[in-house]
Symmetry: C2
Subunit: 146 residues, 2 copies
């Protein structure tokens, strides 16, 4: 894990929420969608199948936990879960909460509109209930304030 560092583009576009055992949990700085990203803290990984089998299972576990809680907290109509990486090759897994009345339903969200940054208190308000549910999965000392 020593060589991991977050890609500069991910770092610029997101806020850090905390670290699961394997992945860094980020939230996209865009009020348009509740949009979360998991980044395995491993160096030089571009595709899911490049992770070890144990890491793949852990990624899946963290992704499923996150997805389940996102569905619950945000009453999502649908989750969009995706590893694209055309612009940012570092492996990262999008988890986007979609609603049938959101701005680009049913199209995918990427590249559709310019991100609208959160006001700080709005971001904390968004993330607090989610983080409360993830507290068993993200060790407390790894939480960041939104």
């Amino acid at each position: 894990m020593t060589d991991f560092s977050l890609h500069s583009r991910l770092s610029a576009d997101t806020h850090l929420l905390g670290d699961f055992p394997l992945c860094r949990l980020l939230v996209m700085n865009d009020v348009t969608y509740p949009w979360f990203i998991l980044v395995p803290r491993r160096a030089a990984i571009r595709e899911i199948h490049e992770l070890t089998e144990a890491d793949q299972h852990q990624l899946l576990r963290e992704s499923s936990q996150l997805g389940q809680q996102l569905e619950k907290v945000f009453k999502a109509d649908k989750l969009n879960v995706a590893a694209l990486g055309n612009l940012v090759p570092q492996l990262h897994l999008h988890h986007i909460v979609r609603y049938q009345d959101d701005p680009c339903w049913p199209a995918p969200v990427w590249g559709k509109s310019s991100p609208v940054p959160y006001a700080t208190d709005r971001l904390q308000e968004l993330c607090r209930p989610l983080l409360a549910l993830l507290i068993d999965f993200i060790p407390a000392e790894r939480f960041r304030s939104g």
Copy 2:
């Protein structure tokens, strides 16, 4: 597994290639991209986290196998792996081979251009080397001719 039936839209847009132990393997009927889809043969599942843990692991195993072989056979610059399901709620996992000179790089492919159907022999030519590599993972009796 008894109640599984493929969503009519998936069935209309793809060709059946075979069945992994868990998933049906489909190829999108669009020459624009080498575009494969895994559909877990389980009824009434919309999100990955709704699968049992054993099924989640099996989905990951099949997805990683497929991804690894796609990268090899098609010399992909990048894979796009995604579970969206905004139009077709039945859980299905896209695996799209992307090239830096493909028609919509670096944007995602969905909704960008109308699909251009394969000529039959072109489809067989595309899929033969891939299926040869997957033969250990898809039991022989479950292969379909492209």
